[in-house]
């Protein structure tokens, strides 16, 4: 509660004694357990609460769980922690001192409302001009589905995103996902396969659907980009895809290959656009 969500570790916000006293403030929460459901029926049981006086951040009182939360957000070091944490989900560099102070003032001035801070972050030039960040798997998928005009039409997204490292509502631990470590050989492979899955319905069947036998490399790339909602690709990626389209065409050495190979080329372009750095980054 203090380290991860309101105050932060190693900022001088609390001491070992504060931790112990806060733990006393939070006593009284219980749950039941069954092998089928795990922990369930969370509830506050007054018989299990420590009603003695506690001293937290130098303030003494008969604190309960609501006080425990209030004391955290009223702490002088809370607004600075909160705005920087929220900022970090959108911009990979720390805010400048002036931006930071501005966000803190917004947060305080609006009675700890999150929305004004979020609006300020989303309209900040840093959000648009800062260096790119790796999208979390769910964001990568959501943006892909939006671009492709597809919806949450299958539960497969759950296990596909889990393989890519993010099952919603199931973080690896209480700290949540580590946004600096989304990609490795296992996770990127899962993203590849997620893109393949998302393209079902967009990609073409080389063998059972007739496909143009005359499509040029330029037309092929234009069609694939169009299917993806015309994302802005870096020039070197665009060139590589165009080169791929040309290489594929040079593979055609027999008449019967004209349609099917072009269809496979279309699928290859669709796949590579979806797994390109341009669509993985935001």
């Amino acid at each position: 509660m203090m380290e991860l969500f309101s105050l932060g570790a190693d900022r001088g916000a609390y001491t070992e004694d504060d931790i112990r006293e806060q733990a006393r403030s939070l006593t009284g929460w219980r749950n039941d357990w069954s092998s089928e459901q795990g922990a369930y029926n969370f509830r506050f049981d007054p018989n299990w609460h420590d009603y003695g006086a506690k001293t937290v951040f130098g303030k003494t009182g008969n604190w309960g769980w609501e006080d425990a939360c209030r004391l955290c957000v009223e702490h002088d070091l809370h607004p600075s922690f909160f705005v920087e944490k929220l900022w970090s989900y959108f911009v990979p560099q720390s805010p400048s001192t002036s931006v930071r102070e501005e966000l803190i003032a917004l947060y305080r001035g609006n009675g700890w409302q999150i929305r004004p801070v979020l609006e300020a972050i989303l309209t900040s030039p840093d959000f648009y001009e800062g260096p790119p960040m790796v999208k979390p798997p769910v964001v990568h998928l959501a943006s892909a589905l939006r671009r492709l005009g597809r919806h949450i039409d299958t539960e497969a997204w759950i296990w596909l995103c889990e393989e890519a490292g993010q099952r919603l509502f199931w973080p690896p631990n209480v700290a949540g996902w580590d946004d600096t470590r989304w990609l490795d050989t296992s996770r990127l492979r899962a993203r590849w396969n997620t893109v393949d899955y998302a393209l079902y319905g967009t990609s073409v069947d080389p063998w059972n659907q007739p496909y143009s036998t005359t499509e040029t490399p330029e037309e092929a790339l234009a069609r694939a980009l169009g299917s993806w909602g015309s994302p802005a690709l870096r020039e070197e990626h665009r060139e590589e895809l165009l080169d791929l389209a040309r290489r594929c065409e040079s593979l055609i050495v027999a008449n019967w290959q004209n349609g099917p190979y072009r269809a496979m080329r279309q699928n290859a372009l669709l796949q590579l656009i979806g797994i390109s750095p341009d669509l993985i980054l935001q």
């Binding site: 260096p131 050989t185 990609s203």
Partner: protein, 389 residues
């Protein structure tokens, strides 16, 4: 950290990585020869290298026939470790009370600070390296292994000025460095110094994600957590598929102008290297003296597959599978396809998926033409057939 997965994981919450961990643990059961210099246990024929690859194989085999032959791992690992030295690091998530495992019974403060929990001198075997410490009675087995020089213990490890954060401490422990922002692990830094530029199997996490210990700055490493081999699906096929992967590899090797882009490029490059490595090994392993239909000896100008005979234009990209059917793929009425596509092997693929814990996908290769219907796959909520724990 034990809260990562609930203990009722045998039911709905069971995930693949957990299953793999269990499988890997099972594979290590009763294997005494893990320290240097000891001969192989009689009759087992297991070298340490094979132990590692078998662990991987067993982990994969939990789901049925793996498309990556064990030899693929063995070859990759052998290339990475020509001198036959392999370090296996097992990280057990969870906590243990070090003050009970090696109780400081010789320190008067111990009984004073633990009036109810403290062990008394003589409750368990003495720790021979420091007689002020004493093993927990239930850890007598560890005490024996310690006496035999097979177990080392590092009691009372800590660092100055801890910030009370579990996450900080675990991060330090995993990476072997006292810096919050450090992004490489102690094994990864070693590989950065002496590792190979091309072989991702030199550092292998048998898990759904890469262990922070193995995180490198430059050299390729791999995480493998795979139901059916290291496959990258795509609705393409020979010869277009090879060109597609060539461009994918290019995405991984172009210059970067931001840390985020560099991260994507690195992962892309490593993913493609791993795909190639496992594909290459699979090629040599599955080489058969009997020519198979559609083998590369076919004239390139003649259709490797007759478009009308093949009902499954969708191939999975396990590159090996593209030319030579593996023994698990039994001929079916649909077997004119030289390229075992997603829909082409109902007898093996479908039944295998059906009993895997992540559900099954079936194929409609014969009925609808395009053999790509993964609709029946129901995700991790499906209960596994057996409880491995």
């Amino acid at each position: 950290m034990s809260a990562r997965k609930p203990t009722h994981s045998c039911c709905s919450g069971f995930t693949r990585s957990q299953l793999l961990r269990n499988a890997a643990a099972e594979a290590g059961k009763g294997l005494p020869a893990i320290e240097p210099g000891m001969p192989e246990p009689a009759g087992t024929g297991l070298s340490r290298r094979k132990f590692l690859s078998r662990s991987a194989g067993l982990a994969l085999a939990v789901y049925g026939a793996s498309k990556i032959p064990l030899s693929a791992f063995e070859t990759g690992i052998a290339q990475a470790a020509p001198t036959d030295k392999i370090l296996i690091s097992v990280f057990l998530e969870g906590g243990i009370d070090a003050m009970s495992v090696l109780a400081p019974v010789g320190d008067p403060k111990y009984a004073q600070l633990r009036p109810n929990l403290a062990f008394k001198p003589g409750d368990g075997p003495t720790f021979s390296e420091d007689t002020r410490l004493q093993w927990h009675p239930a850890a007598a087995g560890l005490a024996t292994l310690h006496e035999e020089g097979k177990v080392s213990a590092f009691p009372a490890i800590g660092y100055d000025h801890p910030d009370q954060s579990h996450f900080t401490s675990r991060h330090y422990y995993e990476i072997g460095e006292l810096q919050v922002g450090y992004r490489t692990g102690w094994l990864g830094r070693y590989l950065d110094l002496v590792g190979d530029d091309e072989n991702p199997l030199q550092g292998l996490s048998l898990d759904g994600d890469l262990s922070p210990m193995l995180a490198t700055a430059e050299k390729p490493v791999a995480a493998i957590d795979s139901v059916d081999g290291y496959e990258l699906w795509s609705p393409t096929g020979d010869p277009v598929e090879a060109e597609m992967f060539r461009s994918f590899a290019r995405f991984g090797s172009l210059p970067s102008d931001s840390p985020g882009l560099a991260q994507v490029r690195r992962a892309t490059s490593q993913t493609d290297k791993l795909r190639q490595e496992l594909a290459g090994s699979a090629n040599s392993a599955a080489r058969s003296p009997i020519p198979k239909p559609g083998s590369p000896t076919s004239s390139p100008a003649s259709p490797p597959i007759s478009p009308s005979a093949c009902r499954c234009g969708w191939s999975r990209s396990t590159p090996r599978a593209a030319t030579t059917p593996t023994p698990t793929r039994r001929p079916t009425s649909n077997a004119t396809c030289a390229r075992p596509a997603k829909g082409c092997s109902p007898s093996s693929a479908t039944s295998r998926r059906a009993d895997s814990p992540t559900g099954s996908w079936s194929s409609s290769g014969a009925s609808s033409g395009a053999g790509r219907r993964r609709t029946a796959r129901s995700g991790p909520t499906t209960a596994p057939p057996a409880t491995p724990s």
